[in-house]
Symmetry: C6
Subunit: 74 residues, 6 copies
Amino acid sequence: MDSWLNTLQTDTPQEGFELALKLARMGVKYTQPSDEARATLRDQYADDHAALTAASHVVAVNFQTVAAANNWWR
Amino acid sequence: MDSWLNTLQTDTPQEGFELALKLARMGVKYTQPSDEARATLRDQYADDHAALTAASHVVAVNFQTVAAANNWWR
Amino acid sequence: MDSWLNTLQTDTPQEGFELALKLARMGVKYTQPSDEARATLRDQYADDHAALTAASHVVAVNFQTVAAANNWWR
Amino acid sequence: MDSWLNTLQTDTPQEGFELALKLARMGVKYTQPSDEARATLRDQYADDHAALTAASHVVAVNFQTVAAANNWWR
Amino acid sequence: MDSWLNTLQTDTPQEGFELALKLARMGVKYTQPSDEARATLRDQYADDHAALTAASHVVAVNFQTVAAANNWWR
Amino acid sequence: MDSWLNTLQTDTPQEGFELALKLARMGVKYTQPSDEARATLRDQYADDHAALTAASHVVAVNFQTVAAANNWWR
């Protein structure tokens, strides 16, 4: 896998949240590397509330990590 | 996405809890950006106890982050 | 929503646990504000072990937050 | 509810783990107070691996809290 | 239950990971004490990817606790 | 099991994320040691969005541990 994560530091909380999203998606990509397969799956879960909540849960866990790395942008 | 998260600091724990709710919803919105699609899904899960508990779980995880950011409003 | 969360500080661990329960329920109430709808759902999940375990899980996550806020009542 | 949680301090890690178990069960009991109903549910989930894993998960989350409260019994 | 957990300290991260596994299994054993029943269940979930992922999740939560107890073996 | 985890320290966040992936997979391997059985299961869950999200969740939990061990690569 190419380099995609050099730092957990971000300028703003919002960029940190978006990095958390990226971490959640990369957690999927390492298991299912096919872009086409993931696009198909995304179409399915975008209308499935349990799946969207589960995705938001993973983002929340990663956001804890990123926020701590940034000392909560205090 | 427009700017929506400039700080994790809030004046009160309740505002922090409401920010945690917003983080949970934004975790969904980034995956399903359509307001209409999300409104339809919300109608479904508002009467589904497993879904409501799952939503509350994501809020709880985000509330951990916000509470730490505010030094637990001590 | 009226004011319902002014502090995370409690006198005892048990009061902290009960606050964690309240946080878990408020996480549901913000999504499903109808008292009647929530009462109906509670009747369903009170005899569903997966639902009860899931509810206890959310309480546990919130109890982590409350316990940290109180420096674990040391 | 009577007094059942006066401290998170325990003498040993094992007692701390057992307290985490108690916290997990109390999280259920507050929602389903009937001893009879909970006994019936326990008979069901004792032979359901998903339910047992979910129960162990809640214990693990509570054990994080109890271990931190005891400074990990270092 | 006999004594099985006297310390969270381990010499290496790997031993810590294996302790996290033990904690996950003990979380099950306290609810289902029968060795025979647990062996039957293990045969079922060893070929069920959702169950294996759920088991790995519980190990991960316990590993957080053990790693913190060991100051991350720094 | 042979030695596979000597340290949680990594040079970069990306290597830390990849270690978190390894921890998630080892959590499965200890329960299902057969390489063949795990390969079969992976083929199944690689096209199952709930399973991929669940896998990403476990990685996220382990990444919290690894990131803390590395002081978030600050």
